[in-house]
Symmetry: C2
């Protein structure tokens, strides 16, 4: 197979993977909304109902934070503007994701206060808070390396760290989401109920969203 | 910075990341052994004690399966033999991991039978079984593409899929392990106990093992 054909093959694959990532992301988004609105009583930050306050957390952490981060990572494949325009979208989507994430984390602290439960004891919370702090550092690292003017050699030598680190952080965020769903599901002690199946499919689609975003970014480096 | 210096920088980083991966893998291995032997009553497949039978599952799935898979992925950096020798180790370590994983999965089915609980209802089990089947397919794909003689163009065009797919599968296996630990931890309903902290650190080190294996493989592609 000629080199040109291999390149064409990978460019086409990367674009199909991007479509797959959108699909799984939107599916997870829809299933999570059905779960929170139909089974869990709705989503409201300023509520006296503790469940509605809690629900802000999974909603904003996936539908806001992880979904936006994934879309930000695929911007270089999906937004047909100049490279600098793509960089701007990439940075702004990440910034929006981080702001939404902060509100999402505040929601779960508020929920813990309302029911008098201790904070930050579970594996989910350890992974989640660690990952979120690293995301903040990665954003600052990206800002001072790729947005603030730097010699092109510096940018070039830092790019692999930025790309590989970003993909690892996406997986860490997916791990945080899945451990969170698992914690909630285990505490509800439901087994073969419709709600449990819905939560499992939501988790699977979140994982597949992460895998497809990762593959679309990683395979594109071989083009 | 000259290109040679960048290459040297990444080669050194990839080798440091490999050392980091070993370190976190061994730490997770030790913490899991302490957890299962000191807090959970030991590990034994042919036991009448259901807890000892259950403990075979986390032990073999991490200390056998995930740890061996990670080591197999780093073989091209860590085993100083010919390329064909490295391929052989890579294949054999994966095969060993899959065999150990089968015993580990059998252990949890045996445990469910002993306590009369249904199988395959949790998010952990869905991710775990899905990932394990995909690992089997990836091994067969690798065998028929890279071990059985094929034109070098075929190998070259399939290599990015094999590498990127393998890294994604490692993360999926890590997700399975972390949801499993989270499920167990949530069902035990312990909070700020020493055992819960030990389980959290085990989970964190499993995640860091996955991240460091991934980065050592991914950054090496930029060398």
């Amino acid at each position: 197979m000629a080199d040109g054909l291999v390149t064409y093959h990978y460019r086409r694959s990367a674009s199909r993977l991007t479509i797959g990532a959108h699909l799984f992301g939107v599916l997870a988004f829809i299933l999570m909304l059905i779960w929170l609105l139909h089974y869990r009583g709705g989503i409201e930050y300023d509520s006296d109902n503790v469940d509605r306050v809690f629900n802000v957390h999974p909603f904003l952490m996936f539908c806001g934070f992880i979904f936006l981060v994934g879309e930000a990572m695929m911007v270089y494949k999906t937004v047909p503007v100049s490279h600098n325009g793509q960089k701007f979208f990439h940075m702004m989507l990440h910034l929006t994701a981080i702001c939404v994430g902060i509100v999402g984390i505040c929601a779960v602290f508020k929920f813990h206060d309302m029911i008098n439960v201790e904070d930050v004891y579970s594996l989910h919370s350890w992974i989640g808070i660690g990952t979120f702090c690293l995301f903040g550092l990665q954003w600052l690292f990206g800002l001072f390396t790729f947005i603030v003017p730097q010699p092109s050699e510096t940018k070039q030598s830092m790019l692999p760290w930025h790309i590989c680190g970003g993909r690892a952080l996406l997986y860490m965020a997916v791990c945080a989401a899945l451990t969170g769903l698992m914690e909630k599901s285990a505490s509800m002690q439901q087994k073969h109920t419709r709600e449990n199946h819905l939560m499992n499919f939501t988790g699977l689609f979140i994982l597949l969203f992460g895998v497809f975003v990762d593959l679309s970014v990683a395979l594109a480096r071989y083009v």
